[in-house]
């Protein structure tokens, strides 16, 4: 199960190869079509100087295309784009092990891939992106690893909040955050409050999340309502349960497409109820290698599918 810290120094590096090659802070890779930028083509300085980490990483800071419609790559149809995309970012540790690197390098590389996907979602008009950052089963990993990850998560979020605000990204957190350290809890609550009015992309981060626990907590809330006399037990039905799930923070709680990387063919207790009619796509590449090409392939596969929802053929 992947754990990805939120180090959002977004850049236009569209493939992992470019991510490792140092680039000057303001120089943009030439192969990126100009449509990825805002129509005014504002240079970096108009948005403020690149952050210190951005220069040290060798990755340019993010440019978002504002509210302009960005041209989709060939092969994708706008009307068939998924509204809500869910991602299980699996394979960071395996990626590091394969290269003989320490596990934390895997998470760093995973973070870069995460940035790429957030950026692509912003540009390609996906409205909601839910990522499985940390499962409740991930606590069984070594404490050193989980502590490090939580630290990275905190630092990354603190560094990136400004960029996210500018980009119009709204952050929501689902999962049981009461087990996290207090400073991180405060930071998460603050991030959610600050970004609440943004509407370009709704980024839902699942931290210490379990699909089964989500359903149980919804049932518990309904039980409290029964106890308070607000509803009768016989009135409990699917829509009442759905309204109490943690994904009620968005108007589109059901993902249209779920992508899981690293070739594992399982759901692993992610978004259980919400995945009822979601198209599943299992990518063979490990998460740090999941770039624009792989994402494009996943979206093309999604657009070719026929969704019937159990009813008639269209």
């Amino acid at each position: 199960m992947a754990v990805v810290p939120l180090r959002l120094h977004l850049s236009f590096t569209s493939s992992p190869r470019h991510a490792t090659r140092p680039t000057l802070g303001l120089m943009l890779p030439s192969h990126i079509p100009r449509s990825f930028f805002s129509s005014a083509d504002k240079p970096a300085t108009a948005l403020g100087p690149p952050g210190k980490d951005a220069i040290l990483n060798g990755t340019p800071p993010a440019y978002y295309a504002g509210e302009d419609i960005v041209a989709l790559p060939a092969g994708l149809r706008r009307e068939l784009m998924p509204r809500h995309l869910a991602v299980i970012m699996d394979g960071n540790r395996r990626w590091a092990r394969m290269r003989g690197l320490p596990v934390v390098s895997g998470y760093e590389a995973g973070a870069r891939a995460f940035r790429r996907i957030v950026e692509l979602c912003c540009n390609w008009g996906i409205r909601v992106l839910t990522v499985f950052a940390f499962s409740s089963e991930n606590w069984f990993r070594p404490k050193v690893e989980t502590d490090f990850l939580m630290g990275l998560f905190e630092r990354g979020l603190r560094d990136e909040l400004r960029h996210l605000m500018r980009a119009g990204v709204r952050i929501s957190i689902i999962g049981d955050i009461s087990k996290l350290l207090k400073p991180l809890q405060v930071l998460l609550a603050d991030a959610m409050d600050t970004t609440i009015n943004n509407s370009r992309l709704h980024l839902i981060i699942a931290v210490n999340y379990s699909g089964q626990n989500d359903v149980v907590q919804a049932c518990q809330k309904l039980a409290v309502k029964v106890k308070d006399g607000l509803i009768e037990p016989e009135e409990i039905n699917e829509s009442l349960v759905e309204r109490e799930l943690e994904t009620n923070c968005t108007d589109f709680p059901h993902p249209d497409l779920l992508i899981r990387t690293s070739g594992e063919l399982r759901i692993s207790n992610f978004l259980l109820w919400q995945l009822a009619y979601t198209e599943l796509y299992f990518a063979d590449s490990l998460w740090p290698d999941f770039g624009e090409d792989e994402f494009l392939e996943a979206l093309c596969s999604f657009q070719r599918r026929q969704r019937r929802y159990g009813g008639q053929n269209s």
């Binding site: 069984f140 359903v215 039980a223 699917e238 759905e242 796509y281 299992f282 159990g310």
Partner: protein, 277 residues
């Protein structure tokens, strides 16, 4: 004379195929064998269209495949087999189509009660899982009769999900858990008993229709579609998902073998996860 010889040859051929299959299963059984297999029977209508069969013939072809596959599963040593026979969403199809499926189900359930070949051969206990109140009356009665008739078998279990969706199952479990807790609270002498007032995971699980079986090890969906379609969402959280491109009536032994081999490859990791507290 010729006819008799042909029948003998045919029987010989059948026996040798059966023998080879049993040898293959003995080899597979060296590794871990899945305890519970779940199937989404997708692609019957497409099969009928592909071969220009009449309306409803796709389902009959699907039923034949189902019988073979169940037989292979039990021969291999799989104890639980679940099938997604009819979803609550399928009621939205054309009434003639729904009636066709209901008639086929009634015919097959009554056949099962009469002949009991599969049931007796493998000692199969049959469960009908789902919101049975939504079924047409004759089908519901036949289903309940079949469940009662096979209730003494315990070798293998067949779970037929009809009028089923996972969200309906969970909502129903939530409703029953709330009703039980509410009854408990009202009858409780000690008013401050807060710890027992809270609904827990185990409460929900004890009210699920599928509580009679463990979680599936493998979920197979035919016809190449990779989605769950509201089937066993709660139970397949850690199941291996397998989606062969073959349509359901085209499914065969090779797909089962491939699924089991993949399961055996992933098994050590899944066992480690299961052993975590």
């Amino acid at each position: 004379m010729d006819g008799k010889r042909d029948t003998i040859l045919f029987k010989l051929f059948g026996s040798s195929v059966s023998y080879m299959r049993r040898c293959l299963f003995s080899v597979l059984s060296v590794g871990p064998v899945p305890n519970h297999l779940a199937f989404i029977l997708d692609g019957n209508r497409r099969y009928a269209k592909k071969w220009n069969l009449g309306e409803g013939m796709g389902y009959r072809a699907g039923f034949l495949s189902l019988m073979s596959l169940i037989k292979y599963c039990y021969e291999l040593g799989v104890k639980y087999v679940s099938i997604y026979a009819f979803s609550i969403d399928n009621f939205r199809r054309r009434p003639e189509e729904v009636q066709c499926v209901m008639d086929l189900m009634l015919e097959k359930i009554e056949g099962l009660l009469r002949e009991q070949t599969l049931v007796n051969q493998y000692g199969v206990r049959v469960y009908f899982i789902g919101n049975l109140k939504l079924l047409h009356e004759p089908v519901r009665l036949a289903a309940e009769k079949a469940m009662k008739a096979t209730s003494n078998n315990n070798n293998s279990i067949l779970l037929i999900c009809v009028a089923y969706t996972s969200t309906d199952e969970i909502a129903h479990a939530a409703q029953e858990s709330c009703e039980d807790k509410w009854a408990l609270i009202r009858s409780s002498v000690n008013e401050e008993n807060d710890a027992n007032d809270v609904i827990k995971l185990s409460d929900i699980e004890s009210h699920m229709y599928m509580r009679v079986a463990p979680d599936p090890d493998i979920l197979v969906r035919t016809s190449g579609e990779t989605r769950l379609s509201n089937f066993l969402l709660w139970q397949t959280s850690n199941s291996l998902l397998f989606s062969p491109k073959a349509l359901w009536p085209e499914i065969g032994l090779r797909h089962l073998v491939w699924a089991v081999l993949n399961f055996q490859r992933a098994h050590p990791y899944l066992e480690r996860r299961r052993k975590q507290p």
